[in-house]
Structures are given as C-alpha cells and as structure tokens.
Symmetry: C2
Subunit: 344 residues, 2 copies
C-alpha cells in the first residue's frame, strides 16, 4: 500500500497517491466520466452498474482528489487561513476555534498560520481563498499587498483602508467591569493597559477613561500603566502603579495573563486581594477560576468573532457587499473572589 507502482507507457515507476486517471482506467471509463460520477454531477447520468464500479474502484485504490489540480481548474481552494501573531495566546485559540467550526460548516478547511503578515501572504497566494488577520501591533505596517492579493478580513483591528474588519465591542466589556467595581463601592480604579501600539490596548484604555468620566470618577495617570500582554507585562506595570503615593482600590487588567501578573505583583508586595485592592480582568478563560484568588472576569464573544469573521470573509469571496462591524454579543461578567467592596 505504501509502495505501489504505476504503469505508464509500459514502464513501472514509483507513484504517489492514486490519480483520477488510474481510477478511470481501472474501471474502464473515461476520466471525465469518473469525475462526474465521483462528484455526483447532476448534468449527466451514468448507468448504475458503471457508477458502482467507479465508486468501488475509487474506494479500493484509496483515491483522493488532488487539491492543487482542483484549485487550478476551479480557482477555488476551499481553504481559509487565519494569521495570528503567536499561538500561545489563549484568546487567539478561542477566535480560531470559532472560525474553524464555522468554516467546517461551510466546507472549508482552516489553516492557522503565524509569522510576519507580508511574507506569509505572498506565499499563500493560490493556497487559500481568503485570509483573516488577527490583531497585531499597529506598528506592523501592512503593505499594499495586504488586501490586494485576496479577500481579507481584519480581526479586532481597524485600519483606515478599504480592508474590512470585525471588531469586538471592547467598550462594553470594560464598561461591565467598571460598573461591577462601582457597584461594589469602588471609586479609585486603575487600569493595567495593553501595549499602546495595539488596537485593542488603545481601545480598552479609551473605554476605561470614558467609563470613569461618565461616572464622575477620577482618572489618575499614576493609576494607569501599560504592559505587554503577558504575565510579566502585568507584573511590571503593577509595580509601577502601586508605587504611586495614593493607591487605587481596584485594578482592571487588560487580559487574563496580565491579571495573573497583577495578582503576583500584589502578592509579592504584601497587598491583599481583594482586601486591599480588587482585581478584575478583561476576557475570561477556565484558568481564571483556578488562580488565587479566583479572578472576576468578563467573558467576551471571541468564538463568535471568529465565526462571524468567516461569514464575512465568505461573503467577500462571493463578491457580496459587506460592511465593517462591531460584534454586539453582550459580555458576560463572572464574579469571583478577586473583587469585593473596598475596605471601609
């Protein structure tokens, strides 16, 4: 099975996977006939016995249509790609899973790819029908090839260009967190923000400030610190915030990883959570329930974003009109032990 031979013009040569021609020959029909039978072509009927014979032979020879040939002929690959900056970010895993399932529903394979956008896009031409670019640093410039080579959808990142985008309503998530803390009685709230050169980091920070102002609460520069989207980033940023003369009574972290760094920094400095400072996180993942103390967090519709992005991308591929959109699925706040009323 692993080492068949193929006879061509009398000679036997080493062979790759079975080709349609071999199925056709083995069943005594033309390749066009075999093709139509295997694809259930409605424009042409075949005698039942012929059909049976072809299907049986195809099965026996373990025939799989060659995707490259199919793509070349039909100019369709039935594959999509999602390009992510890195795979270790759980949020991307969620988005990707949502996209994968939706793509599968529509008969597409989803390839996850990571690396430099411009380089990758070049090597993807002809391999996929469209691509989703997951949020990355806004200082990663998109060259003219982005969007021009194939249907493209930006995920959680807006760009002033004709490229379409799907964005989560970060504002609603931040709003839910602030509202929760205010209800608990907090007035002095700080923010461990994501990098300024990310669209999400900037949006969440803006939303944070608006939410405080809308409630007449103080927005203090020393209570806002920027850190990379990682445990370490959250840790370092927190150290800066707690060195302020007056400390906030609550902190909102921009991701769960950040929040875990926040918790570690507070713990290392003998600051009790939630006794001294409450901590709440944007985004939610199972891990959040298991850290100490369990994290109050707001679950955002990441899978939904992935799924919706696929829908939009498929519309784009079909030449249908699409509009940029902000996903309106409401965030869900899961209160856990990391938030409590401020000390009296």
């Amino acid at each position: 099975m692993a080492c068949r031979t193929r006879s061509t013009a009398g000679a036997a040569v080493a062979a790759g996977p079975t080709r349609l021609r071999e199925v056709a020959i083995a069943s005594g029909v033309d390749v066009s006939t075999a093709s139509r039978i295997l694809n259930n072509d409605p424009n042409q009927s075949a005698r039942p016995e012929t059909r049976e014979r072809v299907l049986e032979v195809a099965r026996r020879l373990n025939y799989r249509r060659n995707a490259a040939a199919l793509a070349l002929r039909t100019t369709k690959t039935n594959a999509l790609a999602i390009l992510v900056p890195n795979l270790s970010n759980v949020a991307y895993a969620e988005v990707t899973e949502g996209a994968r399932l939706r793509a599968a529903d529509e008969g597409y394979v989803l390839f996850v790819v990571s690396g430099t956008p411009s380089e990758l896009l070049s090597s993807l031409t002809g391999r996929i029908d469209g691509v989703m670019l997951a949020a990355s640093r806004t200082d990663v410039r998109f060259g003219p090839e982005v969007g021009a080579l194939m249907p493209t959808v930006l995920l959680n990142r807006h760009v002033a260009s004709p490229i379409n985008s799907i964005i989560i309503d970060d504002g609603a998530g931040i709003e839910a967190l602030v509202e929760h803390l205010v209800e608990l009685g907090h007035a002095d709230i700080g923010h461990i923000a994501g990098p300024a050169n990310t669209d999400t980091g900037a949006r969440r920070l803006t939303a944070f400030k608006s939410a405080l102002r809308a409630r007449g609460l103080p927005v203090r520069a020393s209570w806002i610190a920027v850190g990379e989207y990682s445990e370490e980033g959250g840790y370092d940023a927190t150290l800066r915030v707690i060195s302020a003369r007056k400390r906030p009574t609550a902190l909102i972290a921009s991701t769960v990883a950040t929040a875990i760094g926040v918790l570690a920094a507070l713990r290392d400095n003998g600051i009790d959570v939630p006794g001294d400072i409450s901590v709440a996180s944007y985004d939610d993942v199972p891990l959040a329930s298991f850290v100490s103390p369990p994290l109050t967090a707001v679950r955002m519709p990441l899978r939904e974003m992935g799924a919706r992005a696929v829908e939009v991308l498929l519309n784009l591929i079909d030449g249908l009109p699409v509009e940029n959109e902000v996903l309106q699925a409401p965030p869900v706040l899961n209160q856990r032990a990391s938030t409590a009323p401020p000390r009296a």
Copy 2:
C-alpha cells in the same frame, strides 16, 4: 488595484491576481522566458535588458506565482502541516513554534490544523508535502489513510505501525522531578496523571512508578489519580488523592495546567503548599512562575521536538531513510517555591 481588468481575446473580464502570462505579454517575452528569469534558471541566460524588463513588470503588476499551479506542475507544495487536537494547549504552541521556525529555514510554510485526523488528512492531499500528527488520545484510531496518503511523522505518540515518530523522553523529565523531591527528603510521593488513553499520560505514569521503585519508595495506588489535561482535571484528581487515609508529602502533576488545578484543590482544602504538600510539574511555561506559590517545574524540549520533527519529515519527503527517535535533549528543572523539604 483591487479592481483591475484583464483582456483576453479582445474581451475585458474581471480578474484575480496577475498571472505569469500577463507579465510575459506586458514585457514582450514568452511565458517560459519570464518563468526562467523570475526563477533564476541557471540553464538559460537572458539579455540583461530583457531580465530587467521582466523583473520590473513583475514588480509593477505585483505578480505572485500561483501556488496551485506550481504544486500541480512540480508535485511539491513547499508546505507542511501540523495537526493538533486543540490550540489552547500551550505545549502544542511551543512544539508548533519550533516546527514553524525550522520549516521556514527550509523554505516551507507551516499550517497548523486542528480537528479530526482522518477527515483532515483527506482534505489535505495535494495541499501539503507532509504532515506531523501531534499526540492525541490513543483511542482515536488511525485509519489506513494515515501514513499512506503522504509522509507522516507522529509527535510524542508511538503506534505499532510503519509510521515514524519523534518522542520526548518523558522518563527523563519525571526522573528529574522525582530526584528533586527525594533530594528534598520526600519519600511519600503521589502523581496526578494524565488520561490513560494518551500516550504521554501512560508513559509518564510508568516512568513515575519506575522512578519510585528504583529508589525503594512506596507506590501507593491511592496516591495516583488520573485527570484530564486541564485545571479542572487536576483539581478533581487531587480531591481524590487527599481523601486517602494517609496523604503523600509531595505531588507530581503531569502538566502545568494540571498543576494549577492541584494547587487550587489543596488551597481550597486548607492544605499548605509547600508546607503540607510539595507540588512539582512536568513541563514548564512562563505562567508557572506567576501562580501562587510559583511552581517548581521541569522544562521539556518542546520546541526542539517540533524542529526535529520537521527535519525528519523533510528527510521522509526526500526519500531518505529515517528512524524513530527519542529526543535526548536533557530536561531542565526550575525549582520554585512550590517544593520544599517535608515537614519534620
């Protein structure tokens, strides 16, 4: 740019990306000439002015060779895939990153794909030159199509079949953990094992038992509990272990996620770590440093495994002889606050 037209036989039709033919026509040469120039074909020289002209036109028209056509003609896609059960597992992210970098070095794109192996493999024929299958449950049977359709390497999973595999020396990692605990003075060591239907889970458990026996330490069934590879799995399994009449003084968790569940379960039951029970984890990730208490963990050569798998796969593709191997890169034990000598 996004909406060019292409003239064919006098008619103007909507067009996709630029084709080689268009470059050739625009520069007044044959497609074969254009192809040779763009590929630096050493078998044929071109007048410098012709070369310049073709390159310039190709650049101006933003030409990208069509991967499908190339693949069809050359029967090479220059793409590999790694198939993982899910993307939220950080260990796979590491393996994948190692594979991606190595693949890029060799001029290959790496696609990460998740889902059901047998279904995916079918839809991958002709899209990639080879595939790596990351460890999954051993009760996911591999059909005959696995390994027969294209060069295949199994990652961290052995199967009694002609399919090649690369495996990490789990035994060495477990050994390092046991040795560390024994050095601290522990004799009563338990294991929160991975699912029995995973190759890794089984291997680590076996190694754990051998390590204890080799030291004449007791292997108590009640100190060994199996749980899914997740925080919750670790949590539940730990509850079972601590309900034993006599408790171990140390626990080895099969992954970091598991270990975090272990810590949560011990905390929820008022058991101090490392005061009452020490906890150490197989595998290591940045997160491990930031939980409470920071986890002693053994870093395994995950990236190296990914890189090595690509090397082996490429050899397989080139028809070179390859052998199954166990990666011998030594594990690195990072001692942190979760382990300490047992209470006197």
